[in-house]
C-alpha cells in the first residue's frame, strides 16, 4: 500500500477521532478480564476471547452461558446473535469500502466494532469526497488505539482479577455494564418496544434450562421492533446533539 499524504492525514484524523472512545472501552475490557479469570478461564483463554472475537457483549454472553452449563451450540448461537448487528454495520459500510482490496476489507471486518463503525460512517458522510484509500486509512487509524486498548484492558483485568474482594459485588457489574450499553441504544419507540418484549420474554422463559429462552425471546423482540418501525413509530425520542 503506498502511503500518500492524504491517506496518512486521514489515518491520523482517524486516530484522533477515536480518543474519546478509549475511556468507556478500558473499563469494559478490564471487566471482561476480571470476570473471565474469576469464572475459571486462564489468561490465555481470556486473551483468546478478546483477541479473536473483539466483541465485549458477545464475549460476556458466551461466558455467562458457559457458566450456566448450556450446550455448546446454544453458547455459540446466542453469542453470535448478539453480534448480528455487525452484519448491519457491514452492509452499511459496503458502499463506502466496496472498492478496497480484498485483504483490506478482510482486516477491516476483523476491526469492525461499534466504535470504528460509528466514527467512520459519520466521517464518510461528512467528507463524501474521500477516496477509498483515504476511507480505509481513516478506518484503520480509528482502531490503532482501540484494538490494543481492548487487549491491554483485558489482560490487566485478568492479572488483578483475583485480588478484587468479593464485597465489591463485581458479578453485578456484568448486568450493569450491559444495561449501560443498551439503554443509550433505545433511540426510538421501536427500540423501546423491542426491549420491553425482550425483558418480558426473557423473564417468562427464564424457567427453560441453559438459557434456551433467550433466542425465541430475542427473535420475537426483533420482529416487534421491526413491525413497530413499519407503523412509522421509529422517530427519535429526543433530538441528539448534532444529529
Amino acid at each position: 500500500m503506498t502511503i500518500t499524504t492524504s491517506s496518512s492525514s486521514a489515518f491520523l484524523r482517524g486516530v484522533r477521532g477515536s480518543a474519546p472512545f478509549l475511556l468507556p472501552l478500558g473499563p469494559f475490557a478490564f471487566l471482561f478480564g476480571v470476570v473471565g479469570t474469576e469464572a475459571g478461564l486462564n489468561i490465555a483463554q481470556v486473551m483468546g476471547f478478546s483477541v479473536l472475537v473483539i466483541a465485549g457483549a458477545s464475549q460476556l454472553t458466551a461466558l455467562q452461558l458457559m457458566a450456566d452449563q448450556a450446550p455448546t451450540f446454544i453458547v455459540l448461537i446466542s453469542a453470535l446473535a448478539v453480534n448480528l448487528r455487525m452484519a448491519m454495520y457491514s452492509a452499511s459500510l459496503a458502499p463506502w469500502m466496496g472498492g478496497a482490496p480484498f485483504w483490506q476489507r478482510g482486516l477491516a471486518a476483523y476491526l469492525l466494532v461499534d466504535n470504528s463503525y460509528a466514527q467512520s460512517l459519520a466521517e464518510y458522510e461528512r467528507q463524501p469526497q474521500m477516496t477509498v484509500a483515504e476511507r480505509m486509512s481513516y478506518f484503520f487509524g480509528a482502531m490503532l488505539m482501540i484494538a490494543p486498548g481492548w487487549y491491554a484492558g483485558t489482560i490487566l483485568g485478568a492479572l488483578v482479577g483475583r485480588e478484587i474482594p468479593d464485597a465489591l459485588a463485581l458479578d453485578f457489574a456484568v448486568p450493569i455494564t450491559f444495561l449501560a450499553i443498551v439503554v443509550p441504544a433505545l433511540r426510538t419507540l421501536a427500540h423501546v418496544a423491542a426491549a420491553m418484549v425482550a425483558v418480558i420474554g426473557g423473564l417468562a422463559l427464564a424457567w427453560l434450562p441453559y438459557s434456551l429462552g433467550l433466542l425465541p425471546a430475542g427473535l420475537l423482540a426483533m420482529m416487534v421492533g421491526a413491525e413497530v418501525e413499519r407503523w412509522g413509530w421509529a422517530r427519535p425520542l429526543r433530538r441528539e446533539a448534532g444529529a
Binding site: A55, A67, D68, A94, R162, F172, V183, G202
Partner: protein, 122 residues
Amino acid sequence: MGLGAPLAAGGRGVTGWSDVAIWGIIVALGIGTWLVRFSFLGLIGDRALPPWLLRHLRYTPVAVIPALLAPLIVWPPATGGQTEPARLIAAIVCIVVGLWTRSLVGSIVAGMGTLYAVQGLL
C-alpha cells in the same frame, strides 16, 4: 472462589468445560463473528440489502441483550436466585442515568455506586 461463583449458576464457573471445549468455543466464536462482520463487506460488495432484513437487524442488540439481562437482574445467581432490592434499585438507577446522560461510564458508576450505597444501608 471469588466472582466466578456468583457468575455461575451453582457456583461452577466454567469448571465443567475442558480446555479443548473452551478453545473450541473461542475459535468458533472468533470465526463466526468475523464472518458476520465480513458478510456484506466481503462477499456482497455494494449491493443493497432487502429493507425488511435491515429492519430486523437494526433491533438485534436491544432485543437480545435485555432478554439475557432481565433474569440476571431479577433473580441474580449471586443470591441463589433470590430477588434483592439493592440490585433492582441499582439497575433502575443505571437505566435512568443512561437515559438521562447517554453516558456509558456515567451509568455504570451510578449503577454500581447505588448498589454499594443501598447494600451498605440495608
